[in-house]
Symmetry: C2
Subunit: 339 residues, 2 copies
DNA sequence: TTGTAAGCGTTATCAT
DNA sequence: ATGATAACGCTTACAA
């Protein structure tokens, strides 16, 4: 069973006894076509299972096709999923289709995906840059007029539109909240230092400590990029002879991991503030206090920026910061236990 | 600032003083090119910011391009995110790029996405069918040799490869588990009845009741498609004069909603088994007993099926069922309280 | 109402 | 080692 060649316009035309151009007219509802030919063409189209080849069309028309590409680091993280959904919802009414690829947080995969999208001549490109990537090569695209928006993290080595959370301010507020409840030994569990969001949130952590006159202690800073690592990290910061009494978890995976870690240590006395909200936050014991991000707002803002660019906005690149919000639920208000 | 036209091979060729074909040779590392020309071409390419136009290439070569399309109903649901990640990981080593679009669980969006992918001549298509969709039109694609695999739910009106969870058996095991702990008033909180997975899991629920000789009671069956709805649903089944003493939640959103609902009712005595695992299941109070699915295995199985088809496997369509696993953590083992 | 010719950016084929 | 020409499937511009 040889792989059947896909029917083309010419095939349909031959079948009906007309020219490709006539079929084209029917397909695009353009120009005058007699009712009879139209009917016969349509019949032949279904008979042959004809699907217009969009690549050929776009090439001829010169138009970029109506898809916009989005590169995210991880499909399994609901944060990025929600961002993607919001972008989708915002661009769809404009007749644009969102297609998403995952870079798995590696610069190499990211480059390759961006190439794929560019080579397919997407209408616009949205990128959540992975740590260590270099976006200078995309300068060309930008000056060629390709709308380009960076999400959650700004571009590296390139001035371009970006939408980010209020990472530093949010983290500072979260840590200050813990300090306000008497804690002076506050651990930081976050991503690898190479990550923009982790750097910003870490700065916020240090801001809050500095404001409170609390000396910075390196041994309270841990990397917890997934649940297991974060659970192990929290065990370490609670183990020393001058242990942490509170923890700031710098992202949703870290929060989950810390919660799991505290539970397995049967520690209910450790205060915790997490960055990014969790669906089950309020039923945890104690309920989880968080610095909530607004992933949907991030997606919407990025889509707006992008659409403005598509509509010819040539103003200079701007960085939109989406505010975060402290939601006190219990875990962040645990007081410092008297020793 | 007029939109700069993107550089083409001919542009590069002219710049260097050679033919497009020579540039093509350099780009594709194909055929003999003198070291000197190669260098000059490469230089011109970067200078002009040349990016080969994949659409043109694919058109000429006639090959489908090396992307595979995946349609999922919801980007924000980690279940589908994990499935997508697994597919990505499995196809990448084959040099294939996964692009994902979201149908938002509507047949119309699904059709439109599939068209987009087909018109772009993806190498293969993976679809999580949304409720109410009709896949008969895709018969043509299938017989044209386009690898086509359905995920999580089988196609409607079309015999095609599919990978699904052991929905009915898993649900039956979960409900039987509750029954084994003395419960005879077991509520079912799930998706809308139109959904395949909900129908299957509902059948499993009824199987378990029938085996135990427990009469089916319609008033214990509720729809909870999101957290709020599920929380409201659980309140209803606990309210009547012959209330439920146990709940089976038929998906991860329903589980979360039921947990939230029980918490706000301050009910810790209601037994609960959820379909699909949650990251925080074990720290809930009581820890959540689940019928765990294996989304990664589903993604991998789909990718394997797809790759086999790409390699010319023309055997008849098969449906792969991925087993589920009961994980007892506490909530499902709460005994029936003596009245 | 329909057709013809040319061309979008590539590459296959056959020359040179 | 390089080039000329045609072709992929479609649409534009102009004829018939």
């Amino acid at each position: 069973m040889s792989k059947a060649r896909r029917a083309t316009m010419t095939d349909v035309a031959r079948e009906v006894g007309v020219t490709a151009k006539t079929v084209s007219r029917v397909v695009n509802d353009e120009g005058p076509v007699s009712e009879e030919t139209r009917a016969r063409v349509l019949a032949a189209m279904t008979r042959l299972g004809f699907q217009p080849n969009l690549m050929a069309r776009n090439m001829r028309v010169g138009a970029r096709d109506s898809t916009i590409g989005l590169v995210i680091p991880d499909m399994g993280n609901p944060f990025f999923g929600t961002v993607a959904s919001a972008v989708e919802a915002a661009v769809r009414p404009r007749g644009l289709t969102l297609i998403v690829g995952s870079s798995e947080e590696t610069p190499e995969r990211e480059r390759s995906l961006i190439s794929t999208f560019l080579a397919r001549r997407v209408t616009a490109l949205l990128v959540v840059p992975s740590a260590g990537g270099d976006h200078r090569p995309m300068r060309t695209e930008r000056s060629a007029g390709l709308p380009l928006v960076f999400l959650d993290r700004p571009a590296n080595g390139l001035t371009a539109d970006a939408v980010v959370s209020s990472n530093r301010g949010g983290a500072r507020a979260g840590v200050a909240h813990l300090v306000a409840h008497g804690h002076r030994r506050v651990a930081f569990v976050g991503d690898v230092p190479a990550l923009y969001t982790r750097r910003e949130r870490f700065q916020g952590y240090r801001d809050a400590l500095a404001e409170a006159g609390i000396p910075y202690d390196r041994s309270l800073v841990e990397v917890g990029h997934d649940h297991e690592a974060a659970a192990a990290a929290v065990a370490r910061v609670l183990a020393g002879r001058d242990p942490a009494t509170a923890v700031f978890a710098a992202n949703n995976f870290a929060s989950t991991g810390v919660v799991l870690g505290l539970a397995s240590l049967r520690r209910r006395d450790v205060a915790l503030v997490g960055f990014d909200d969790l669906p089950l936050a309020e039923v945890l014991d104690p309920p989880l206090t968080v610095i909530a991000q607004d992933p949907a707002a991030i997606g919407r803002a990025a889509a707006e920026l992008l659409i403005a660019r598509l509509n010819g906005d040539r103003s200079r690149a701007q960085v939109v910061t989406v505010p975060t919000r402290l939601i006190a639920r219990g875990s962040g208000e645990l007081p410092l236990a008297d020793p």
